[in-house]
Each structure stands twice: as C-alpha cells, then as structure tokens.
Symmetry: C2
Subunit: 128 residues, 2 copies
C-alpha cells in the first residue's frame, strides 16, 4: 500500500553518488519505492564542468526531464543541442541520449522514469 | 505507440495558465500525452508572492514534486512546513495539501502525476 502520509526530503539530506561509466556525473534518487512511490521514480543528476554521460539508450523506459540549473549539451538520437535551466526533454523508450557539461558551472536536471523491475542501459559510447 | 524521437521544449515556448480555484497560481503541462508520454505527466507550477492553492486532495493519484525556485509554505495532511528550492515532496493518493507563497519572490515547483483517464480534485478549503 505504500505510505499514506506525505514526505518532505530537504535538499541537504539527499546525497548524490557518482554514476559508473560516466565522468563527473552524480545521481540521487529523490522519490522512489523507499518513499512508497508506486508508479515512477524521480531522480536528481548533477554534472560537474567537463562532466559527461556517454551516449546510451534504454529499450523499455522513457525519461521525462527538466533542467533546473546550468547548461547541458545533449545529443538526442544523434542530434546535438544545448538546453538550459527550465527547458524540458522527453526521451521515449529506445531513443539514444548523451549529456555533456561544456560550461564552467555545475549543471543539474531532474529525470523521472517509470518504476520497473529492472533498469537496463545499452551503452553506445565509452569514456575512452 | 507515441513518439519515437526525443523532444526538447525550451522554457520560452511553454505558457503557464491560471488555475481555477486558486489565487496567483499558474500551471503548464511540460510533458504529457501530447509529447507521447505513456505513463506520467510532468507539470510546472508558479505561485506569485501571496499566491495560494487552497487545501485539497486527489483520491486516486500521487504527486512527486521538487521545488526549483523560491520558497513555499506547504500544509501536508494538516501539518505546515516550509520548503525551498531543491527540496522534494512525495504526496501519496488521498493525502491533503495546500500551497502558499508567503515570500516576496515567485516560487516554482515541478509536479509529476500518473497519466490517468480523469483527474479529480476534492477541495477542502475555498479561497474566501
């Protein structure tokens, strides 16, 4: 049944952790099964200046994202563009994406995914 | 099947619209069925200084929220607390919530809900 009362998580209590296979990228699960969420998971991503999440895809799950701080160079299905705080991105299942912070400030975005049993990433690029 | 390619929506292209039954509160759907999203809907809420979304509940749907700008006084299940940019809130189905901007700056939050056939709001408070 999950929780029946609301939960507040102050930013200061949430720790981001480095993401394997990336450079200078960290992630925190903000709301997920631990909070009782039944359907989707809200995550926070932070990319340092020079940070890179190499190109990859997830066959079975979509991303709904909003940039909240800084600027990111995204490559979406092979097309590169810059997004900034307030911009929103929808990535359908199977699409490919790559995130790079070419700026001098940290960049941050929120990414929501469906709650699924597994989470498979197909890497299309490596760091080296 | 929805879209198979990613979609970017720059902030400048997204219009927020006043929300009935509130004071000084506006909302925009950022990612939803129009973008091909199959499972959940990402919305953007802005409350002017003095803005109020009166207390209400939704029996059948949860909220996953993150504050991205400013400060809000939330009343969650009857308990009042202040949240600020970066703080996250999970509101399970049936829980009650009220949003007030007592500050001098606009406040903004992202709210994600499941994609459902209907969207029922039970108001527990009116503006007057």
């Amino acid at each position: 049944m999950g929780n029946t009362k609301s939960i507040v998580r102050p930013l200061s209590t949430v720790e981001t952790k480095p993401i394997d296979g990336t450079r200078g990228a960290r992630m925190a699960i903000l709301i997920g099964p631990e909070q009782g969420a039944p359907h989707f998971v809200m995550r926070r991503f932070v990319l340092e200046p020079g940070g890179l999440i190499p190109e990859h895809a997830h066959e079975d799950l979509e991303h709904e994202q909003v940039v909240v701080r800084g600027e990111l160079v995204l490559t979406l299905d092979g097309e590169t563009r810059t997004v900034r705080a307030g911009d929103t991105v929808y990535m359908p299942p199977g699409s490919s994406h790559r995130y790079e912070n070419r700026g001098s400030e940290e960049a941050e975005f929120i990414c929501v995914i469906p709650l699924t049993e597994g989470y498979e990433t197909r890497w299309l690029e490596s760091l080296d």
